[in-house]
């Protein structure tokens, strides 16, 4: 089968395209920048452009949709245009093109109101209570996608949690950058348990969802490594692997949240080129527990993570060494 992977220039998108190729399918990647995935047909275009989207879907059997605006800052309209508008356009076009499988790659934040998550399974996406523009627009898009689920177009939502790995420009790069510039405080005592997902595990789960869509369509699945760690340990592990000094200073979580809110608000008024150093969303993410019940995910997708946390950190370290010496 021929599979369209959107947003394949990012860390996870590339890994998904590779995983789908390895499963014996042909892959077309679709995004604004070149995907650089060996063996994939690369089509460049914008998810916000109807003609680009229609063109990308010609002769395609299935879609894995990752393209999204994932920044921690930016205007609400930008988030809505890409995350909600883009998904709606892609779904409409997919229906028009007679495509029958659709994997929507979502985020656990779509159902997260800011409280701790301790061993829960995926709750329904809730745009009204989601925190921040990213989470809210992803929640709206997930509801759109699952709303489009039908016998003709089978849709499943997969929510990998905190994806990281070598070449990561989102989580790892941010952590490393902040740690390097001394701007990565541990929030509170750093003991909140947080699960994360090594990129290859997230990719293999998404590929598994594509294969199992007939059995699992209409549902949402959170995907993680199933190895929660105290947030300080996780951040320290990533910093050590990337060759930067782990964070040493701590600020109380409540103060961080308050500061995050204030800074976020200031950034909206006078946006700079940089992202804000701390957002309330990030503060909450790093000071409350986030780990999940993975039983349904593993049973339904017939999937288990192949790369352990420790192995992932080793691979991250191996990939990071040259860049450290270079910088």
């Amino acid at each position: 089968m021929k599979v369209l992977v959107t947003g394949a220039s990012g860390l996870l998108g590339r890994a998904v395209a590779s995983a789908v190729l390895s499963a014996g399918h042909s892959v077309r990647t679709f995004q604004r920048r070149p995907s650089g995935v060996p063996g994939a047909e690369d089509v460049r275009g914008s998810i916000t452009d109807s003609a680009d989207v229609t063109g990308a879907l010609s002769n395609i059997d299935a879609v894995v949709h990752l393209a999204a605006k994932v920044s921690l800052a930016g205007s609400a309209d930008d988030f809505a245009a890409v995350n909600v508008g883009g998904t709606r356009r892609l779904l409409d076009a997919a229906r028009g093109a007679g495509i029958d499988r659709f994997v929507y790659v979502s985020s656990p934040s779509v159902a997260h109101s800011g409280a701790s998550i301790v061993g829960e399974d995926a709750a329904p996406a809730d745009p009204a209570r989601a925190r921040g523009d990213y989470a809210r627009t992803k929640a709206e898009a997930e509801l759109l996608a699952l709303g489009a689920d039908s016998p003709a177009l089978r849709v499943v939502a997969v929510r990998p949690h905190l994806v990281w790995g070598p070449g990561d420009t989102q989580l790892v790069a941010r952590i490393v950058e902040r740690a390097r510039s001394g701007r990565l405080p541990l929030l509170g005592h750093g003991a909140a348990l947080i699960d994360s997902t090594y990129v290859d595990n997230a990719a293999s789960a998404i590929a598994a969802a594509l294969e199992r869509v007939d059995e699992v369509h209409g549902r949402s699945y959170v995907v993680t490594n199933g190895e929660p760690r105290p947030v300080a340990e996780l951040l320290t592990g990533i910093c050590v692997a990337a060759g930067v000094r782990p964070p040493a200073w701590r600020i109380p979580a409540t103060l961080a949240r308050a500061a995050g809110s204030a800074i976020e608000a200031a950034w909206r008024v006078r946006p700079g080129t940089d992202e804000p150093p701390m957002t309330r969303f990030l503060a909450e993410q790093l000071s409350t527990a986030h780990w999940f019940d993975q039983r349904r995910t593993r049973a339904d997708l017939q999937w288990t993570p192949a790369v352990t946390l420790d192995e992932g950190l080793r691979r991250l370290a191996a990939a990071s060494q040259p860049s450290i010496t270079a910088s």
């Binding site: 509170g188 005592h189 348990l193 340990e233 019940d293 993975q294």
Partner: protein, 922 residues
């Protein structure tokens, strides 16, 4: 004060249906029914509001096996019983026994008619009769068997109906209520206040104060919508006249209008032979335990469960509906009510301690009987001048004291006769708040001899725990030293008080003491003794430490305690003349029963850590002791103070042949260190609990052999506690994936599950914990006595038992079950670790493993383990993923044994910290 004065001005109002949408109330159960008053001169018809699930059962097409008639108290209404109606209907829908449940709103109460006239108790009982008569002629009919269920003053009304309808009655069930106000006892303070003439109407009718006070009694607090539902029929003063009448109708003195009816009911309740259930919330400022005691005396056959922590609104505090349906399902009352009555009467006369026929997993049933009474050595050795007890330091600054068998035997007989003379009778409960020593020993055997039931609650429970235990065990008499007597006085513990020492009259009066032990000895000089108790009679109630939940009263019969003695004698070769150092209270008390010469070393008995090596040596030397019993905490300190031993001390210790550490598991290292002090002694550590003091035993050599074997077998590890004592059978009830022990108890090696044991020396039952007893007896063949220990473990191929932890501490991960002890042992072996506890966080089935450590270099604060230590811990556990490693200054421990880690507290703390909560000390 009579009801007439409280209900001066009031008007009638028709009945109505409750508003819709009350939380938890299925509106389809509500209906109104017209009830002709057959007993009144006016022959009016009254309209009642009732809840009735008969239509729902009819819709399901099921025939009810019987009817539960529920009567609310003051100031609630039938809403109180909503859960029972729903649960009973759900059970019927699920194919279970179908019980019709009818819950009435008494007239002038709830949504029933406001009749405009007061309804004293006798009238209310007739009202209920009118209602059941009307129900029997309505379309749905009403047939027996009927089981009544009442709460508060509804309990009295329901019992009034019950005693008047023997032809229909199949059982009675009660939640906190009372049928009798004992002479000379004060009315509970909250009621006294409400009954005060100037307050009665303002408190009950003009304002909702009484209603609000009652609604505030729930533990935990009621949600606002539920409170609103209770308030809904009593919104205006005119609707609350019935509440004031009800309070005014409490017969506070013999001349009260309702006193004769209450007396009639109280008397007739004592003649009921139908099955009875009492579910009680002890945190009730009005219907306190003393009313439960009164009811229990009237219906000695009743099943009783006290829900520790629950209060007056027990129907809101606990899942009473499941308890009620479970109990109903157990009763043989389906069919004829009279047959059930007969079977209870029969059970009443037959002691329930005999082991019958039948086997479990091929084991011959345990038969009791044929043992010598506990005090027989005191009779046999009554003319012996050999010492029976030696106290190294009986009181601060005093030299050691020796008591001969002759003196001890005489004192026991005198005290026994004296106790009988001051009214301590067979079956009475006597709480012993006496520090261990000769006094305690003499009083204990005196009580046993006359058949009084001794209640022993360890001071280690702490004052709150001790109060709950003493209160819950409802002693008729209390014997204590000053600290105990002061506590008894201050906290209002029940019972006649006897002091260990004589006090001047004003002091004795202040303490509420009626006599001293010396007085008893004087009164008992003639040594005229009542007949001794039979082997099946209750001998003792021993309280558990509370380290595994609220302290429970463990009930032993004389024969069962004698079996404990015989098991110890056989296991450790203790007999007449054996010198025994008793550094562990429970075994110290058994010294005279064993015929041994027991010596109490110089130590603060409430703090085992104070025992030194020199004190042990001195005690050994005093009687040339060959056996030493110690608690693990005492043993640790003895080893730690070894340097102070003189050469004479060491040579005395050379004579010890057996030493034993009981109460909590002991490490091989500690046992080995102690062994070095007593080179000729065999080091034993038994496995047992308050409910079964000796189950298995293992020696130091045995532990070492077992470790090698377990490694070879690839077993799941834990603490090896050895092979069962000759009289004990050990089986394992396998765990299901949720961690519940659902397997049929079996002896298959290598299977991890709950440890269940059978032996002549195990407990008879728990005191006033019917539900707990029922669970303990679940899946056990009738006639056999098995104890479910709550411990998890496995048997190896050599029949050795390995303890892997407690049932609630089993960690249920997505990858399977994990027991903590083996992991802790591996972590404890790391040089940087002093002690560890492995707990689970998260919901059942998806938990993750967390290790909490005390480090060798004491940490002053709580923190995440450094990366190297965390990595070492993860390597050490070999297998399960450890999500976090935390370091704490000190792990919380249970105060009694000072060695068992309080995992419940630790789990809650860990869950809080790892969810992002504050990192305070556990």
């Amino acid at each position: 004060m009579s009801s007439a004065s409280a209900g001066a001005s009031r008007s009638g109002a028709p009945a109505s249906l409750p508003p819709s949408g009350l939380p938890g109330l299925n509106a389809s159960f509500s209906r109104l029914i017209d009830v002709p008053e057959r007993h009144s001169t006016t022959r009016s018809t009254r309209r009642w509001h009732i809840l009735d699930n008969a239509p729902a059962l009819a819709e399901l097409g099921v025939q009810p096996v019987g009817t539960v008639l529920c009567v609310h108290g003051n100031p609630t209404w039938s809403y109180l019983w909503r859960r029972l109606l729903s649960s009973a209907t759900d059970a019927a829908a699920d194919g279970g026994q179908a019980w019709r449940v009818i819950a009435v709103d008494q007239l002038n109460m709830g949504f029933s008619e406001r009749t405009g006239e007061g309804r004293p108790l006798a009238r209310r009982v007739r009202d209920l009769d009118d209602l059941t008569n009307a129900l029997s002629t309505d379309a749905l009919g009403l047939a027996g068997p009927i089981v009544t269920l009442g709460h508060d003053w509804g309990g009295v009304v329901s019992l009034g109906w019950a005693v008047d309808h023997p032809e229909l009655l199949a059982g009675v069930m009660l939640l906190n209520t009372a049928v009798h106000q004992p002479e000379g006892e004060p009315i509970p303070a909250p009621l006294r206040l409400a009954l005060h003439r100037s307050l009665l109407r303002p408190a009950t009718v003009a304002t909702p104060a009484f209603l609000e006070t009652t609604l505030a009694l729930a533990h935990p607090s009621l949600p606002s919508p539920v409170k609103d539902a209770y308030r809904s029929p009593y919104r205006r003063a005119a609707r609350r006249a019935g509440i004031g009448d009800f309070v005014a109708d409490i017969p506070v003195h013999a001349g009260h209008e309702s006193a004769p009816e209450l007396d009639r009911i109280a008397h007739r309740v004592g003649t009921l032979r139908v099955p009875a259930l009492m579910l009680w919330g002890p945190r009730d400022p009005v219907f306190s335990d003393r009313y439960l005691d009164d009811l229990a005396r009237r219906m000695p056959h009743a099943d009783i469960h006290r829900f520790e922590g629950a209060g007056h609104l027990i129907a809101e505090d606990v899942d009473y509906a499941s308890a009620v349906l479970t109990w109903l399902g157990d009763q043989p009352l389906v069919g004829q009510a009279s047959e059930a009555a007969t079977s209870v009467a029969r059970a009443d006369t037959v002691p329930d301690t005999d082991a019958g026929a039948g086997t479990i997993a091929g084991i011959a049933p345990v038969t009791d009987g044929g043992r010598q009474p506990l005090w027989h050595h005191l009779d046999d050795l009554r003319d012996s001048d050999d010492p029976a007890l030696v106290e190294m330091v009986p009181a601060r600054g005093q030299p050691s004291r020796s008591v001969s068998w002759r003196l001890l035997s005489k004192r026991v007989r005198q005290l026994a006769a004296g106790l009988a003379a001051v009214g301590v009778s067979r079956g009475d409960r006597v709480s012993l708040l006496v520090p261990p020593g000769a006094d305690l020993t003499a009083v204990l055997y005196a009580c046993l001899r006359i058949g009084a039931v001794v209640v022993v609650a360890d001071a280690g429970l702490g004052l709150r725990g001790l109060t709950r235990a003493v209160r819950g065990a409802r002693p008729d008499h209390l014997i204590g030293a000053v600290p105990g007597l002061i506590a008894a006085r201050a906290l209002g513990w029940p019972g006649q008080r006897i002091s260990t020492a004589r006090y001047p009259a004003p002091v004795a009066r202040a303490l509420g003491v009626s006599s001293a032990l010396a007085d008893l000895i004087e009164r008992g000089r003639d040594e005229v003794l009542p007949d001794p108790p039979g082997p099946g009679e209750i001998a003792a109630v021993l309280f558990t430490s509370g380290s595994t939940g609220p302290a429970k009263g463990v009930v032993y019969t004389h024969d069962q305690l004698a079996a404990v003695r015989d098991a110890l004698a056989a296991q450790y070769e203790v007999g007449v003349g054996t010198g025994l150092v008793a550094g562990f209270a429970p075994f110290a008390l058994l010294g005279p029963a064993l015929g041994a010469l027991s010596v109490t070393p110089d130590m603060d008995v409430t703090s085992p850590k104070t025992l030194t090596a020199a004190s042990v040596a001195a005690a050994v030397r005093a009687v040339e002791a060959t056996v030493v019993f110690l608690s693990p905490a005492a043993l640790a300190n003895v080893v730690a103070t070894e340097h102070s031993l003189t050469p004479e001390d060491r040579s005395a210790l050379d004579g010890v042949l057996t030493f034993l550490s009981a109460g909590a598991p002991v490490s091989e290292q500690l046992l080995a260190a102690a062994s070095a002090l007593m080179p000729d002694a065999r080091a034993h550590t038994p496995y047992g609990m308050t409910e079964a003091l000796l189950v298995t035993d293992v020696t130091l050599t045995g532990i070492r052999e077992a470790a090698t074997a377990e490694h070879a077998e690839g077993g799941s590890g834990g603490v090896c506690v050895g092979v069962p004592a000759p009289s004990a059978h050990v089986r394992i009830s396998a765990l299901d994936p949720t961690g519940a022990a659902t397997g049929v108890p079996a002896g298959t090696p290598g299977v991890t599950g709950e440890i269940v044991i059978s032996a002549p020396q195990i407990k008879d039952h728990y005191d006033r914990l019917w539900l707990t007893n029922r669970a303990a007896d679940a899946a056990v063949t009738t006639g056999e006595r098995w104890h479910r220990t709550g411990d998890v473990g496995h048997l190896d191929t050599s029949g050795r038992l390995w303890v892997e932890g407690r049932m609630p501490h089993v960690i249920t991960t997505g990858a399977g079950l994990i027991t903590p002890v083996a992991l802790e042992q591996r972590i404890d072996a790391l040089p940087a670790v002093r002690r560890s506890a492995v707990v689970g966080v998260g919901p059942q089935g998806v938990q993750h493993v967390i290790a909490v450590l005390e480090t060798t270099a004491r940490s002053r604060r709580v923190h995440l383990a450094e990366p190297d230590l965390a990595a070492a811990v993860r390597d050490a556990v070999q297998g399960p993923d450890v999500a976090a490693v935390l370091v704490v200054p000190q792990l919380p421990t249970d105060i009694r044994h000072n060695s068992k880690i309080d995992r419940t507290r630790l789990s809650e703390w860990t869950a809080g910290v790892l969810a992002g909560g504050r990192m305070v000390k556990p």
